[in-house]
Amino acid sequence: MTVIERVKQLPSDVWTSIFRNPLPHTDHGRAATSFTNFFLHLHPVKVNRNTLRPMYTMGLGLISLFLFLILTVSGILLMFYYVPSTTQAYDRMLDLRGSVAFGTFLRNMHRWAAHAMVAAVALHMARVFLTGAYKKPREFNWVVGMILFLLTLFSSFTGYLLPWDQLAFWAITVGTAIAGYAPVIGKEMKFVLLGDATVGQEALLRFYVLHVAVLPAIVTLMVMIHFWRIRKDGGLSRPPEAEAAITQPDSISVQVVAGAKPNGGSYGLMGFVRGPFTKTGNVPDNSVFSWPNLFLAELFVFVLTVAGILVVAHFFGAPLEEPVNIMHPPNPAKAPWYFLGLQELVSYSAFWGGVGIPGIEVLILLLVPYIDRSPRGVGVWFAKERILANSLFMLFAVVNVILMIIGTFFRGPNWSFVSPW
């Protein structure tokens, strides 16, 4: 090989050293592409066709993930300008709006992505419930998902305080006051959260640290567990019909019985795999290669999410109200919209509205897979077999949404009923 040929070869050498596989044209190549790329190997090589049905998942889980990524990126950029100090925070907001390059846009994106993520996670939860996807073996992943939902709410809530304007200050005052109604630990919990009797410098610092470090780290960890379990649980839930009949006899699966020690006391790696082995060979099944089917779908959801947030961030400004004035509460002082249902309930009874009912709701939701143990009705929207469970869930969802709407639009000064028209 001449020197010139070697030099000519260099770019493609560099390329192949980074991307091990050329664009695939064969099934083997498609499998290898998924397998040899760090990001793609998080996915299975092949996915069930049902997983790719847009109307089955509506991409809500992915949207939540991408929103989280947008929030992380925009949030890190915002961190370069923000100071969690009661004397500086608001001025920094004015700087972001006035003189920082792309400052307004970043803040808008972060704000709307945060609201959108709360909504997307909640809708994702509704999707999983209404398709019965939390059933065996995915019970615990539902619990992980619930924890992620609560973390999302808490992240959004802690971020709400950071602009240090009237909206932030009084929403957090109301929100933490609700937390204070919890029995036994309520007062202590509020104090630990605020670091003071009222919302002030300590609270701002605590909320900031929670918002930029503690909660994102926990969310990342929980997201990893969430995804890992999806793969270990055999991909997304699907109805039994979606599985093609396996023509090979069951004998292909090797059940390792605990206690039996082949090969003189050590297990082969495959010995730990439960259930049927990954199918090899040309067994007829209902799956397609992840490359390009799954990845294209994911890319589509990503671009759609980004486009949506960009458009909203361009046309709608994130609110920035008056600087904090402790002597002058707005009337009414409202919590963020996702807590307005709670605030509405609190207006009837502080304990039951703020702690009792939401506590029971969260507990029941956490325990859903262990209460509803029938294996039927998985993988289908509004399955006939699940009419009771689905109706109860819809009732719960509709009541909560109605309460939020009342709290948002129909409540005026002194929390009296007003017509928005």
Partner: protein, 591 residues
């Protein structure tokens, strides 16, 4: 799906385009470029031209550290020619800031030198507005969320339409001047000085506290009012006090627009601690106010108390509310011949705490020295010249109309500030169910615990009869009928005992609270819908002077022309009424 993907990508790209456009094509760059161009064309030396040619638009700012928290004023980013006298005839934003000798600017060697240098003061110290903003909407404070719009230049969209025009005027900037120029009667702030005078002349100080100036307690404290509220709110609160607080009993003062403006400027200047003050000085001032009282007590002014009192009454602006002679504040009772209506003791007691003698009075309890009170009491007690009264009609108009109203319906000009309200003289049902002697007595002796004074020394017996006849024919109209014979005992038939009072309370709580209220203060849930208002049964001066017979009659037979029903018809016995009366009497112990 690929088509949808393509469309979504294009949308994302387009928005990026918009965002970048917004980011790199600012309005302020155009203003600066225009300034460079204009300045270059007017430049005299080549060096200056070259220097201007080298400059490119960038955000300019002034950091101001001397005045409170650090301010960052980026106003000069657009207002680039602010210190360039060549730009005298340009329009904003490329106009030079006016030089004015009145502001302390001096001509030195043919060049103006500013007293308030922008490098020291920045812009927002004097003008307000948002120094960090770079768009008009934000920097000029048009954004309704910004608490400090450009003083006197910007009226926010939410402000009341009828006030907007009145709030646009350079004069409002005096409020900012006063943050440093705190001395009284500073020549640069004529409107503010007038506002300060009005604050005392109109008796605002009587109800409102401003630390270091006044210590009224009846109304909201105004020490930091200028920091808390915008011009619009201040104006509205003065001319329409109930617009912001439905339950406010602040009087509507008769003020010209100019006076309101001066007051607004004065109030806008109240920021609590101003730039010129340290907290230590503020504390000293606070102590000083207290000292003023005690030192005056040690060293009473000698001389005729009446004369001193007259001067004090003038200085303390009694006539901002009351009528004294020709001056009428239009809010509180006529004091022109107070000495004929009240004795010295009553006036003295009333001064120290008006609610001791008139329980529902809104008059503030002023914290003057004992000597001042004595002097003013002496002055008022000696106002003993009865008015000249010709006909009964003229008498009514001169003496009664202010409370009872032109039409006799109890809605006189000052009636809204009186509690209880003046009697509605058109309710013939009421007047024709009571003996005439009672009304003559009310006029002669007044009604204790209310604003109805005793007229016996102001009017002669004949005049009083004449006025009542005038009221009878003009307002009551219905001819007097013979009174029905009612069986009312002269004395309460039930002797007062713990048992009787307890039973009375039970019946009271069951039957009377709807109107008279649980506290018997006449403010029950229905009270607001009823005219005349239910009687405050804790008004000891009234209750203790009304005899058993009158109160028993009111309970048993009701009060015609009011909402009080005849309880004898709805299940109360005479003994029940007696118990209730004992209960009411027990609420008003005789001192």
């Amino acid at each position: 799906m690929r088509l949808a993907l393509a469309i979504a990508s294009i949308v994302a790209l387009t928005v990026h385009g918009f965002v970048f456009y917004d980011q790199f094509f600012h309005k302020w760059e155009r203003h600066q470029t225009a300034y460079f161009d204009q300045a270059r064309s007017r430049a005299t030396s080549e060096a200056e031209k070259a220097e201007l040619a080298d400059r490119s638009p960038k955000i300019e700012q002034i950091m101001v550290t001397q005045f409170g928290e650090t301010r960052v004023d980026r106003c000069v980013t657009c207002h680039a020619a602010i210190d360039d006298p060549r730009f005298k005839d340009y329009s904003q934003p490329l106009k030079v800031h006016t030089y004015s000798a009145a502001m302390g600017d001096r001509m030195v060697g043919g060049k103006w030198e500013r007293r308030h240098k922008f490098s020291d003061f920045g812009c927002t110290v004097c003008h307000d507005g948002q120094g960090r903003g770079l768009e008009n909407f934000y920097s000029h404070g048009e954004d309704p969320f910004w608490p400090e719009p450009l003083l006197g230049f910007v009226a926010q969209k939410e402000w009341r339409e009828e006030f907007k025009k009145k709030l646009i005027s350079k004069d409002y900037m005096e409020a900012a001047c006063a943050q440093c120029h705190t001395q009284e009667n500073f020549a640069g702030t004529p409107n503010l000085n007038k506002g300060r005078q009005l604050f005392f002349a109109k008796n605002c100080y009587g109800c409102h506290k401003i630390e270091g100036l006044s210590d009224g307690t009846l109304g909201p404290e105004l020490t930091e009012v200028g920091k808390k509220w915008k011009l619009d709110y201040l104006w509205e609160s003065i001319v329409d006090p109930r617009a912001n607080l439905a339950t406010s009993f602040m009087p509507k003062f008769t003020l010209t627009d100019d006076e309101v403006k001066s007051l607004v400027i004065f109030l806008k200047s109240r920021h609590g601690l101003n730039f010129n003050e340290t907290s230590l000085e503020r504390y000293r001032a606070h102590l000083g106010v207290a000292k003023l009282d005690s030192s005056a007590e040690v060293k009473p002014v000698t001389g005729d108390l009446k004369v001193i009192g007259a001067q004090l009454a003038k200085d303390r602006a009694c006539a901002a509310c009351h009528k004294i002679g020709e001056v009428d504040g239009g809010i509180a009772p006529d004091l022109s011949f107070e000495g004929l209506m009240k004795d010295e003791k009553w006036i003295g007691d009333h001064f120290r705490n008006p609610r001791i003698v008139t329980p529902d009075s809104i008059m503030p309890a002023f914290r003057f020295t004992a000597h001042d009170f004595d002097a003013m009491t002496a002055y008022l007690a000696n106002l003993k010249t009865p008015p000249k009264l010709e006909s009964p009609e003229a008498t009514y108009k001169a003496l009664c109309l202010r409370c009872h109203g032109e039409k006799g319906n109890g809605a006189g000009p000052v009636s809204t500030y009186l509690d209880p309200y003046p009697r509605d003289l058109t309710k013939s049902g009421f007047f024709n169910s009571k003996p005439k002697e009672r009304f003559l007595k009310s006029i002669k002796e007044g009604v204790p615990g209310t604003s109805m004074p005793s007229w016996a020394k102001v009017m002669s017996e004949a005049q009083i009869a004449g006025v009542f006849d005038y009221v009878q024919t003009t307002f009551i109209k219905d001819a007097r009928r013979d009174l029905k014979d009612r069986k009312v005992p002269e004395k309460n038939p039930v002797a007062s005992s713990a048992e009787s009072i307890a039973h009375g309370e039970t019946v009271y709580l069951a039957r009377c609270t709807g109107c008279h209220g649980r506290k018997a203060d006449g403010k029950g849930p229905n009270a607001l819908d009823i005219l005349p208002r239910p009687r405050n049964l804790r008004n000891s001066f009234f209750v203790n002077t009304a005899d058993d017979k009158r109160l028993m009659e009111s309970i048993l037979y009701g009060v015609q022309g009011s909402a009080m029903p005849p309880w004898i018809d709805i299940g109360l016995s005479q003994n029940d009424a007696g118990d209730i009366l004992n209960y009411i009497r027990s609420l008003n112990p005789r001192r």
